[in-house]
């Protein structure tokens, strides 16, 4: 079994490398298509031709883009994310703290959203067709249909402006106590939980319903098992595969898709960093962020596959 999982991981590493390379090239060409370069963007309205030429030379942007990209790729293989064009700081330093922030936020949201979604999804499946199931289903669809920025803004208005319970901004630094962490993260976590849970609830419900209708769940009931026991011990373990996949997709959103939440709560995460990178045409920064998102996505998907395999003795 172990060899199978190891084999799968090596296989995935190989295909991941291919995917990463594709992403890298795609990002490079997309960035190349963007009008202007770092020098013109930095100079903005002050971009006279000679000023642009001067700055370009000073920033070594006068070399061909492909050459710079190639050099960056080679650096990446040695674990070097390169130097930001804009402020000459190693990209790793720029990303470092923000990456920790992103992961922390994603982690806390996961902590809340996943158990919540599983509970709601499983119970809705158990009481399929009941009033409870209908309420859960309608609520999840309702929540899924509200734009993210609307949820976030409403939450700020309610909890910060009117009730003054929570801060409107979520700075990750200067937190000392657990209570403070809770306060600071409360609103982004609420917002993101709303955003990512709906899909997880739907998928969990569907996966559990699929397994509830199997002969082995019927067999468990005919052994005298209660409904709870039949669902939790017999149906659920076999629904782990699709549920893990849904969770992985939801969580991958938390890595790169939270730009709106980062903006509204002024949370310094990687998504905003990449937007900055795009707006200043900072190729090494854009590339590094894209690679991080891609790695995050691929490892989550792979992790979900491994979980599915571990949960299923037939394939391991």
């Amino acid at each position: 079994m172990r060899t199978y999982v190891l084999g799968l991981i090596t296989n995935r590493l190989g295909s991941s490398a291919l995917t990463l390379l594709i992403v890298s090239f795609a990002v490079f060409f997309a960035t190349a298509m963007l009008p202007g370069d770092t020098a013109t963007i930095l100079l903005g309205q002050a971009a006279t031709p000679e000023a642009v030429a001067g700055l370009r030379a000073a920033m070594h942007l006068d070399e061909p883009a492909l050459l710079r990209f190639g050099r960056w790729l080679i650096g990446l293989l040695q674990g070097d994310l390169g130097i930001s064009y804009v402020n000459n700081v190693p990209v790793a330093d720029l990303i470092g703290a923000r990456f920790v922030n992103t992961m922390r936020l994603a982690g806390i949201v996961t902590l809340f959203a996943v158990p919540l979604s599983l509970t709601l999804g499983i119970t809705a499946a158990m009481f399929r067709g009941s009033v409870y199931d209908r309420i859960v289903t309608i609520m999840t669809i309702g929540i899924i249909s509200v734009p993210e920025f609307m949820i976030a803004t409403s939450a700020v208005l309610l909890f910060s402006v009117y009730l003054k319970w929570l801060p409107a901004l979520s700075f990750a630094s200067d937190v000392t106590s657990f209570w403070q962490v809770m306060r600071i993260y409360a609103m982004p976590v609420i917002t993101l939980t709303f955003v990512v849970s709906a899909q997880m609830i739907r998928m969990t419900r569907a996966a559990v319903i699929d397994t509830i209708n199997t002969p082995y769940v019927e067999a468990a009931i005919l052994k005298g098992a209660s409904r709870w026991r039949a669902v939790l011990l017999h149906a659920l373990p076999n629904a782990v595969g699709p549920i893990a996949n849904a969770i992985a997709l939801a969580l991958s959103y938390l890595v790169g898709g939270v730009i709106i939440v980062e903006t509204i709560f002024n949370y310094p995460g990687v998504a905003k960093l990449m937007v900055d990178g795009v707006s200043t045409r900072d190729l090494p920064l854009i590339q590094s962020c894209a690679i991080i998102f891609c790695v995050g996505y691929l490892s989550l998907i792979t992790f979900a596959d491994i979980v599915a395999i571990l949960a299923n003795p037939r394939v391991r």
Partner: protein
């Protein structure tokens, strides 16, 4: 409250009332979108109200927006864009995703591997960021918007269709078709497609909701249709300052989005079921 319609060839359908409500709402918005230019009470760009975020009144049925423009007219025109763009994008995404997914499942081998990796790569870049880059690179005209949304949602549709098609592909009737000597297009469209249309439609619905939401998310990043028009998401965003006052300018477009997406979901969850009743 079950209505059944009898169609020829003794095939009957059962359509629950929840699904019918969903269908009715979708139809309503579709009509609004089609008739939009003829039913707006005021020009979309004209400033009618001295005040802004005005309340509902007999003159301005849904109040005014942040510039004092008529909200009703803006929502009616917005229906055109939200429904139109989302529908076009989701059709493109689901069609290409499904076609590629089925082809990958049937053809297999390196074609499958390469395509899967390529679309994986596409999927791994956060959708809003790719939207941002594309819009910055080529601007945000309608075709670009539609194409971009379609490309963003193709990988998901591909993954889904492929996983369904892989299952169907193991069925004996596929083997029968292939040993008959049928080509890939026939197998894909005639043998596999009819068996996965149900789930594909469900996927289509969910993806439609995602597209509507991404469209409104993009408005937050400043992308969208050209002024004076705006899709509903953009309407919510440009008027979000009215939220503290409960201005209809922000509430109504939100409700419009919710009503559309919820209805699509209700419809796909309660699609008319073909009744297979042997003993009839």
């Amino acid at each position: 409250m079950t209505s059944s319609t009898t169609l020829p060839r003794r095939v009957s359908y059962r359509f629950s009332w929840v699904g019918m409500i969903g269908f009715a709402v979708i139809l309503f918005w579709a009509m609004i979108a089609l008739l939009a230019p003829h039913i707006t009470p005021y020009p979309v760009g004209e400033i009618i109200d001295e005040d802004y975020f005005g309340p509902m009144s007999s003159k301005l049925l849904l109040g005014s927006d942040y510039l004092g423009r008529d909200m009703l007219s803006r929502i009616i025109m917005g229906a055109r864009y939200t429904v139109g763009i989302s529908l076009a994008a989701v059709c493109l995404a689901c069609f290409s995703g499904a076609a590629l997914g089925m082809a990958a499942a049937v053809i297999g081998g390196w074609f499958d591997t390469l395509l899967s990796r390529l679309l994986d790569a596409l999927n791994s870049i956060p959708s809003k960021l790719s939207g941002l880059v594309v819009a910055a690179a080529v601007g945000s005209s309608l075709p670009v918007l539609i194409l971009m949304l379609a490309v963003i949602y193709t990988p998901g549709a591909y993954r889904f269709a492929r996983s369904l098609a892989v299952n169907v592909n193991t069925m004996d009737y596929i083997t029968v078709a292939r040993t008959r000597g049928e080509g890939i297009p026939y197998v894909v469209f005639s043998e596999i497609l009819p068996n996965i249309t149900g789930p594909l439609l469900a996927d289509f619905g969910i993806r439609f909701v995602f597209v509507v939401l991404l469209l409104s998310g993009l408005s937050f990043l400043g992308l969208g249709v050209q002024p004076p028009y705006a899709d509903w998401g953009a309407l919510v965003h440009e008027n979000i300052g009215g939220l503290p006052f409960g201005a209809p300018a922000v509430i109504v477009p939100s409700l419009a989005i919710a009503s559309l997406t919820i209805s699509v979901n209700l419809l796909i969850d309660n699609l008319p079921k073909k009744i297979r009743d042997r003993s009839t």
